[in-house]
């Protein structure tokens, strides 16, 4: 019964995972607001950076086609040091997973079920994530594959509904680049390269399970590209519907945008439905981070990650509640602490050093031969 078959993820599954992952919590809290009116431009630029980031990870991880990031670490610096670094990464991944869960919990409790304790949201969502990872990453990938078409349908419908209900004023997008290009560049490089695009570091554990590695780079780039387009569209919709000012004052801008839909006397107040579609992205993002963390545990303890799935999901649900005392705390932590103390070193600096080490090791290996 202990026979664990190798799990396979197809290219289309990778694509949908990437899209859902990048939309995930980014679409809940809204991104690029520092660029004000030009948030959508900043996101587009951020998307280009994202493509660069994923290509870099891809280039680096696929030097070892069957290894995930932890195994690459092991190759470079030996198992003992790797365990320490892996442990840091596990904490990081699980922490982000908890934050994502918290984002969603806050959204639900604020907008849909105000009297329900946030603990219930966390536990139920985490149980679901745990259950799915217990069934395996394949199942997560297929689930994401099934729900992704609905995501697109939702986006298209939301766009149509917003324009049809006349809540949009396209010229609110003007002035374009009123403050010059600097805010856009600043936002793209300082904020968006870390969140959400830098977070694709979680995919460094996924690539090993990919069946078809020939086109994986192309698919990864397409995935980031499509996600960027969706994020740009959503940012655009927010601005033309609510106006920049309202967007910046909203905790959950997409939710506020969806509230503006009103067609006839029939299609109104559909924000509850929107929330549930947002949930899919959040849940896939949370699961992927959790999976990355579980893979780390698998690496350390040499036990199938499925053993850890449910217990770890409970840990995540606990920490998603404990991670911050109130909403302002949660957001501030997300803006001021996490990007610079966690995202930047773990997404960019450590992998970069690692990359240099890999090159060095491989060079050395060659010269020795």
């Amino acid at each position: 019964m202990m026979k664990v078959n190798k799990e396979n993820i197809s290219l289309s599954q990778l694509l949908t995972l990437l899209i859902n992952f990048l939309l995930g919590s980014a679409i809940v809290v809204g991104i690029g607001s520092n660029a004000k009116n030009d948030a959508w431009l900043a996101i587009a630029l951020g998307g280009l950076i994202g493509i660069g980031i994923i290509s870099a990870y891809h280039f680096f991880i696929l030097r070892f086609p069957d290894k995930n990031i932890f195994q690459v670490f092991e190759f470079c610096i030996g198992r003992k040091v790797t365990i320490v670094i892996t442990f840091i990464y596990i904490v990081y991944f699980l922490y982000i997973s908890a934050r994502v869960t918290r984002d969603f919990g806050e959204l639900m409790v604020t907008a849909i079920l105000p009297n329900t304790p946030i603990e219930v949201m966390s536990i139920s969502l985490c149980l679901l994530m745990g259950y799915i990872l217990y069934l395996g990453i394949e199942v997560l990938a297929r689930t994401s594959e099934i729900f992704t078409p609905y995501l697109f349908v939702f986006f298209i419908l939301l766009t149509i509904f917003l324009f049809a209900s006349g809540s949009t004023e396209v010229n609110q997008i003007q002035p374009i680049l009123g403050e010059g290009i600097m805010p856009v560049i600043k936002t793209a490089f300082l904020d968006l390269s870390l969140f959400p695009f830098g977070e694709v570091i979680a995919f460094s554990v996924i690539y090993a399970s990919l069946t078809n590695k020939k086109y994986s780079l192309r698919v990864s780039i397409i995935g980031v590209g499509v996600a960027t387009i969706l994020l740009v569209v959503s940012s655009f919709l927010m601005i033309v519907t609510l106006g920049v000012d309202s967007v910046q004052r909203s905790n959950f801008p997409l939710l506020s945008t969806a509230r503006a839909v009103s067609i006839g006397e029939f299609l109104e107040r559909i924000d509850a439905i929107v929330v549930f579609i947002i949930m899919l992205g959040v849940f896939i993002k949370g699961s992927l981070f959790m999976y990355a963390g579980l893979k780390g545990l698998e690496f350390i303890f040499k036990l199938s990650y499925r053993y850890f799935a449910l217990p770890v999901s409970m840990i995540i649900s606990l920490f998603s509640v404990l991670v911050s005392v109130d909403f302002a705390d949660h957001i501030q932590e997300g803006i001021k602490v996490v990007p610079y103390y966690l995202h930047l070193p773990l997404q960019h600096i450590v992998p970069f050093i690692l990359f240099l080490l890999v090159l060095w090791r491989q060079q050395k290996g060659k010269s020795e031969n």
Binding site: K3, Q13, I112, L113, S124, L135, A141, R142, T143, M279
Partner: protein, 532 residues
Amino acid sequence: MAPIKPIRRLKRPIKIEEIVAKNEQQMEENKEILDTSFTHLRSEVENAFGNSADLRVLEGRTADKDVLIFYLESMVNAKSLNETTAKFLSPSHVFSDNLNTVNELTSYCKEIFGGASYQLINNTDEIFSAIINGSLVIAMNHLDKAISVNMLTDEKRSVTEPSSQTVVRGPKDGFIESISTNVSLIRRRIRNQNLHFERYTIGEATQTPVYIGFVKGIANEAILEEVRNRIKKIKVSAIFESGNIEELIADKSFTLFPLALNTERPDTVAGNLMEGKIVILIDGTPFALLVPAVFVNFFEMAEDYYSSFFLGSFIRIIRYLSFMIALLTPSLYVGILTYHHELLPTTLLLSVIAQREGVPFPAVVEVLIMEITFEILREAGVRMPRVIGQMVSIVGALVIGQAAAEAGIISNIMIIIVSITAIANFVSPVYSFAAASRLLRFMLIIFSASLGLYGVLLILVAMVAHLSSLRSFGVPYLAPIAPFIIEDQKDVFVRAPFWKMEKRPKYLRDESEQKVFTSQPSPPPMKGGNSG
């Protein structure tokens, strides 16, 4: 031979092993050369069959030798019985110096039975099984072998229209309980020597014939081998219906969704065989099993392919829609009415409030009362004698509903919800699949009542995850959708025109998919998991 165990045994295979061991022991004992002394043989057979009322033992004489004939009256065909005995015992055929050795007996039989239908028997055990299978067993005092002549009665009902999967346009014949008729119904549709049937006997006690049918060259060898293995592995004492087999060979039994497609229609079987599926026929039931079965197969029906592809596609989409309606309507009703009032347009909300004014129960109780009432009525409608059953049909449910609504116990809108759910549920072409939405519905209602639409979505996602984790003979259950196979989309949500469907489904033939097969798919490694 052990007496036939009640079907309950199926659930406790360990005890069956004891019986098997016992049987084997007996067989060992019976290995010696057949003792054909009449008194001994006669008492042995009579004891074995417990002097069963339908066991007939005849004594006769031919070529100056005594002959003992056994058969089960209930299993043999009276007409051929007469012919055979007449021929065998007829003086014109017999010379007094004949039938002294086994060889002479063989040539004698060749002459009068013309070849295939007789068999030589070496031991008592074979005698028993021959008698059971409807053969006439002829023993002669001086020979150490007996002859069995097959004359199984073809007592069966005639081929009629299937009762559960009817079509407006298309063939009207359905399988019956006789396996040989069923095979002929299939073979008549696929007149090709590559259509092979393999015979297995399942059920230690019942000795039920089971055929595996496939078209060689089309059916996937890996899947076929898997089917053979699983059929061989079955160790139970009794098999009466395809449902027994289905449960025993399923990749995972802890699921509401059927992992094999059952059908009463020979044309469905023929079509699926040509797609590369494998059919399992069981004697004694008109239901055949088709494996591997994937989720989308349960929305397909033979008639989709007989009507124009526009209509076929439309009806198929209607089926998917009905599945969603049957699954979700009651829970959405509860969720929206108790948690998300804002989703309803004002006028509708006011109208519903006005209707529900004075209804004493919470929405969830109201839904549960009505759904359970309906399930009771439905079951009653099926089980009641035909004549009475007609009255207690859906109409009965509606009448009760109406009365309940007028009495103010439930609201009018509830009747609409229950009716639409029920009607949508009947749309499903395969009965066992409809059961999934029937049962999941209650789970959804309960979650919807405690967490609103969020609860509904939680269960839906869990359901999809569960479906993704299922496999039918190694083929992912959600196959052409997830993993997404673009070539196979021609026959999923729409039915493409025939000139577009040149290739058989990829999920049944793709090599890369087969690589991930495991003999019994390994469940997640949790200790003591009750799945798999």
